[in-house]
């Protein structure tokens, strides 16, 4: 079982790689397309995976950012992500992991409560983003955000590190989610 490590390889010049992990192929594909459409100074690479661990037969570049996509409509997607988390090295969680939740718009179809996901993100000290990936405009905006995050995680923005970004994002999240 191979574990994803953040600094297992040297970075390639001007390149930023993001790994999208999620059970729903269609959503991941759409998000990937939106991200690639974004205007960005660095070269983007988007990898898609249903779950971790990744097959070790493929040679892949250093991954700068992992985005776990959870669909609130399906319990399976949450389970999938929770299992994949075990195959990620701890040092990834210093700002290079992010949770993206979709499907919160249609309350009636949600089988997972928002708080569940919020707790998960809180446990792993990573930012949680909400977006309805099926709506094109929201998806485009989220893609823009992710591209900016990716640029910072890949170190292409001078003066800001992934950890700095994490600290910045953390302050906007309320600690109300903690169970006493």
């Amino acid at each position: 079982m191979s574990v994803l490590r953040p600094v297992d390889k040297l970075p390639e010049l001007n390149r930023a790689t993001v790994l999208l992990v999620g059970a729903e192929d269609a959503l991941l594909q759409q998000l990937a397309d939106s991200m690639l459409k974004e205007h960005c100074a660095s070269e983007l690479r988007v990898h898609l995976a249903k779950s971790l661990p990744l097959p070790s037969s493929v040679i892949r570049p250093r991954i700068d950012l992992i985005v776990f996509v959870i669909n609130l409509h399906s319990k399976y997607s949450l389970q999938n992500v929770e299992e994949s988390l075990h195959h990620v090295d701890a040092s990834f969680f210093l700002g290079k992991v992010c949770f993206l939740t979709t499907g919160a718009g249609r309350e009636s179809h949600c089988s997972i409560h928002r708080n569940t996901v919020a707790n998960l993100a809180h446990t792993y000290r990573s930012p949680l983003l909400f977006c309805d990936l099926e709506v094109e405009d929201f998806r485009a905006t989220m893609a823009q955000r992710l591209v900016r995050m990716l640029q910072i995680c890949a170190g292409h923005v001078p003066g800001v590190s992934a950890l700095n970004l994490l600290s910045l994002l953390r302050s906007s999240e309320s600690p109300l989610l903690e169970e006493p």
Partner: protein, 280 residues
């Protein structure tokens, strides 16, 4: 301990148009940084992996984050920020990179460039305005000159026309009147001569039968005189041009005038005659 390599990323953008030595310097620096990175990478690969479970995640991550932030802080405090010499060419190139827009040097460079452009635009506009102004001024002067000379001409002509035409018309009329009067005199004189020649008054042929005929001893007037009386009456009293036949009119001559249509009798009074209105 994961050292943050992000801060030392090489900024080796390939299309820099700089002086050769700056380029070489930058390349040298990049090579050095890359070597440092390789060293760090080797060290890192020796560190083992560590995965998390839901129970121990929070605590271990918090501890790790604290350590890393502390390390980053000490790194920032140690390092001097500026490596590259900021020449104008470097600044121009950096200005096009979106990541460097926050640097004050880049912003000042842009500002200076914009201000220079504005200055040159305004200067050229200024030149143009000056030229336009002088041209318009010239035109204005010319127009004013023309206006002045036209005014002078106008006033001269005005005076001339007024005084000239009055006296002229006056003189013309006078001359006309005089000539017409002369003509009239001439006509009357020639009429008189003609009448004297061809229609003389009877001489003393009234020797015979003087006792029977009650002839008035009134002096007969010539045909000329009769005609003159008729003409004058015609023009003096146009509404009543009739002249009473007096004894001084020689009857044959009256008949002559009447028969030739020169005189007309009054329709109700046979003793009155008038001149035919030839002029109406």
């Amino acid at each position: 301990m994961s050292a943050n390599q992000q801060d030392l990323d090489p900024d080796s953008t390939t299309d820099m148009e700089v002086v050769i030595d700056t380029e070489e310097e930058l390349i040298k620096e990049c090579e050095e940084i890359w070597k440092d990175m390789e060293k760090c990478q080797n060290k890192l690969s020796l560190i083992g992996t560590e995965t998390l479970t839901n129970s121990n995640a929070q605590l271990s991550l918090l501890i790790m984050q604290m350590k890393c932030l502390t390390a980053e802080l000490s790194q920032w405090q140690k390092e001097t920020p500026e490596i590259t010499p900021l020449t104008e060419d470097v600044l121009i190139t950096l200005g096009q990179e979106e990541n460097y827009q926050w640097m004050p040097e880049v912003m000042f460079q842009k500002l200076r460039h914009d201000l220079e452009m504005v200055l040159s635009t305004i200067q050229s506009k200024n030149e143009k305005s000056k030229k336009d102004l002088s041209r318009e001024q010239q035109w204005l002067d010319e127009q004013q000159q023309i206006l002045e000379s036209l005014n002078v001409l106008h006033s001269e002509l005005k005076n001339q026309v007024v005084t000239f035409s009055e006296s002229r018309i006056f003189n013309e009329l006078k001359a006309k009147i005089l000539s017409v009067q002369e003509f009239k005199e001439k006509l009357l004189v020639s009429l008189g001569e003609f009448l004297e020649d061809h229609f003389p008054l009877p001489d003393g042929n009234v020797k015979k039968k003087q006792k029977n005929i009650q002839q008035s001893t009134v002096q007969l007037i010539t045909l000329h005189e009769m005609i003159m009386i008729l003409i004058n009456r015609m023009f003096d009293v146009p509404h009543d041009p009739y002249v009473k036949i007096s004894d001084s009119f020689w009857p044959p001559y009256i008949e002559l005038l009447l028969r030739n249509g020169i005189a007309l009798r009054h329709p109700e009074d046979p003793t009155r005659i008038r001149l035919e209105a030839f002029h109406q």
